[in-house]
Point group: C3
Chain length 264, copies 3
């Protein structure tokens, strides 16, 4: 595997520094996200040391842009009537120089979200977090699968990720067995985690929110965003040791995040 | 109790075969369901071995019909503006010969959902899953209670269930202390489970989604749908042994499903 | 601290009596609440001994007013299109003499919800439950912070709470390290609980729903509403002893509520 040899693993000390910075100055993250995962996303942000705010009214979203430290736009349960609100929220994040993350859930398989996510690319998301299939679709390399599940390995999607990162002049995170974080030039990887995370709905969606929190920190954004992946991977390993299945895993995952925050 | 003596219990070996089939070929289930239980429903499907997809935009619902293996329509948080989307999703499931399940939450007590569910009957749902009160209302035998709680035993609702199953030329599942699964001619029962399941919101709603997953399998649909009840009942018994109350029960329930899937 | 000495702690025997009354006659609580916490709110009500109903369609809300025993209006994910439905639900609760609770999530920081909550004050909510910042804003004493987090102690908000309670001729609950429950004349406090409750999204929102359930009981409403706080505080202490972090805490919290209900 070329990925494993050529790409450096994120240094643990750097990740722990980012986690400490987050704990010291909890960022307020505006999450515009799908209704399936709102609760888990909010709990995951709180556990990790950030403050979630789920606001959906167009005028409130506009008011909140200068207040929030970062924004997540997740298209999981997109409705065509929501598109303008999502779009303007991203525009406003740019206006106030707040980082914003795009989570292109199941892009490729469905027209509305695929066209809308392509349109959002023109607003240059600070970070895009997706699985290999979603990243490949956005990079224009494949047309996607039949659902939210991925068909490609993160490794296969690395070229697509680099290309996409250059297009948006931002960071692309491809999550999978190994997470790859790239700005098109530099690439970091985060190994480990647990396969159980794939059996919990919204683990990826919530990671995207965490990427928004870490993207709001000062310092090297590539390392900071990779630190979000690192924190979740360590929590997943902790949870896998405690859990008897995906149900208990999800809760221990939150505990594992909180313990890292407290240990900082 | 005539039910207990006259109606055969689903054979464990048949249920395990259905669970194995699900694990080998995870069906993709489109869930149009209420916002209270979306997360639990998605996690329950994942734990059991199916793949959830919550899609709400009308055009995406239409595109997804030929892709999905089954559909759930749950009216728990119905809004009159949603009715056309729900209706067309059921129509499209029929068009593409995909099984679809109706969960008529709290039907009887509230006019909008009662009239809408009656209208959906004309689209011949493959499966209707409800409690005794809901099934009786849909069969035209009572006018329902004051809320989502049931007033009748599953046994009392058996006649109503048989009548309703014949009307829709499908399967009716009445859940309660004993679950009854009937196509109007043949009836199976699934005993066991745990009373704690009644203290977890969405356990019934999530079972309806699981019924959609099992209805998509090949073989005898009556046994397959009964296997969904069987899988959840076994998981509930596992969870009741682990749990100290309804909170921990809900998570162990998911673990209990995953363990059956893995043991297949 | 003047609060600690001057204000009487709610008597445990009184709280246990209210809990027993709830268990004997489970009230049906209509929750119009934000999409982030609907699931947790429903599970918390069930665990405590009440019956949740999340209904959102305007016509169904109207029909449900005489059926429900109490109503919660929570503006966490308010959308301007929802305001009339929320408003009419509160009006109808008044018409049928059902208690209703206002949870003014993050009021002050955002215009739509702030103006809407001020308008709702004219409908005289039976109970308002908020943190110190939210209560101060509604009392007209501050303009609020940047998000849902509070900047004031409950103690500092006591004067505001008393003033607000007199304005609405109802009860105001200020939650924090110590919970204060006042009708403007009499004030009770509930101490204890766990700081972990602040790391679980929706703990406050769900308490507001529980306040609606307890407000529907017969007897002294001030003591009854304080009993909701007492029940949650005891459950939080139980959960803190079991939990390894905020994830497992949330589930043990539900177990802790159920154990009190069963012990009645």
């Amino acid at each position: 595997m070329p990925t494993d040899t050529a790409i450096p693993e994120l240094d643990a000390a750097i990740a722990q520094q980012a986690i400490a910075q987050l704990a010291d100055h909890p960022p307020l993250i505006h999450c515009i996200t799908n209704t399936v995962v709102q609760n888990f996303t909010a709990n995951l942000l709180l556990a990790a040391g950030a403050i979630p705010a789920m606001i959906i009214d167009p005028s409130e979203c506009q008011e909140f842009a200068p207040i929030a430290d970062g924004l997540l736009v997740n298209v999981g349960t997109l409705h065509h009537e929501h598109c303008p609100t999502y779009y303007h929220a991203a525009e406003n994040a740019n206006r106030f120089a707040k980082p914003w993350v795009l989570d292109p859930v199941a892009v490729g398989g469905l027209t509305l979200r695929t066209e809308f996510c392509r349109k959002l690319l023109s607003l240059n998301p600070s970070v895009i977090r997706g699985n290999a299939s979603e990243i490949s679709v956005l990079a224009g390399e494949t047309t996607g699968g039949r659902g939210p599940e991925t068909q490609l390995s993160a490794d296969q999607a690395l070229d697509a990720a680099r290309k996409l990162a250059k297009t948006i002049e931002g960071i692309v995170v491809v999550t999978g067995e190994v997470d790859l974080i790239t700005d098109g030039e530099r690439t970091l990887k985060v190994s480990g985690g647990s396969v159980l995370a794939t059996r919990v709905t919204g683990a990826g969606c919530a990671l995207s929110a965490l990427c928004a929190a870490f993207a709001s920190l000062t310092g090297d954004r590539l390392s900071n965003v990779a630190s979000a992946c690192w924190m979740l991977s360590r929590a997943a390993e902790f949870a896998a040791r405690q859990a008897a299945g995906p149900g208990t895993f999800a809760l221990h995952l939150l505990d594992g995040l909180a313990q890292q925050r407290e240990a900082k």
